[in-house]
Point group: C2
Chain length 138, copies 2
DNA sequence: ATCCTACAGTGGACTTTGTCTAAGTCAAAC
DNA sequence: GTTTGACTTAGACAAAGTCCACTGTAGGAT
């Protein structure tokens, strides 16, 4: 996704080999890697990249709004490069596989004022759980 | 919630001082404690209780379906004793306060077959995010 | 009431995930 | 080519949770 690299450069992001590699790893549909997985893949392209740099870079990408953090379980956070189209997630309860999904309807509208307890509600996150075809079949 | 203790005993759960204390700590509405918070409160009632026991007991309560695990952020899991009425959560993005909420509608019905990728979808979890009155006002 | 024993609890080491820091390096402006 | 401040690094540290070998005890059997 050189688009991403272009956008980042345009925003004054200083380009380095490490950042380029991280951006390259986070490329595609239905990509939901943990920080350590990103690091593992980055190392194959740039062996001396450090864990701290991967964490820093992911954090910056999240701040810039180019990548979303996803917390589907209590384990590691995952990073989702599909930040430009709003979506929710479908998670396999057995193997942890994740798909991006686009439900109909607007769950924000389903929360009546009486259930808002004075909160200013600005966002909603929906996680569907079930079994993926592989785990359901086996 | 002696109901809970009764139910557990009825299921053949061996009753011990430690388990009783953990069950007592997890009592009430809008209770969403982390394992460490549960431990901290349990210690005031039973000073020698160990962290491992609290984790074990919480895990068992979750397996028994008496308590729900809630992962609202990347930090510690929280434990929600309100397992018998389905509900979702409203979380303050600033201070982390959590309320149980009951939206209208059924988000499960909002996921068309074409968006299920062959998964057997059995559950959905909705997390609303925003600012609580205190954090919005300040 | 006492004994037994399988199940429960304990503390501490260990693992995983993530953060911080001091010192070295390098991209980009000049 | 120099300069400079932002970027990277390695490793120490921290928080949350798991594991394990040993000890203790609830509750049934006697």
């Amino acid at each position: 996704m050189s688009d991403l690299l272009e956008r980042l450069r345009g925003r004054g992001w200083r380009m380095t080999a490490q950042r380029r590699v991280v951006a390259e790893v986070l490329n595609g549909e239905h990509v939901h890697l943990t920080a350590d997985e990103v690091h593992a893949r980055a190392v194959t392209k740039l062996p001396e990249i450090s864990r701290a740099t991967v964490y820093n870079t992911l954090g910056e990408l999240v701040s810039l709004g180019e990548v979303l953090e996803v917390t589907t379980d209590k384990r590691a956070k995952r990073y989702d490069p599909n930040a430009h189209r709003p979506h929710h997630h479908l998670v396999c309860a057995r193997c942890g596989a994740i798909r991006d999904v686009h439900p109909t309807g607007n769950p924000l509208a389903d929360l009546p004022d009486t259930e808002r307890f004075g909160f200013t509600v600005s966002d909603v996150e929906v996680t569907y759980r079930g079994l993926c075809p592989d785990c359901a079949g086996a």
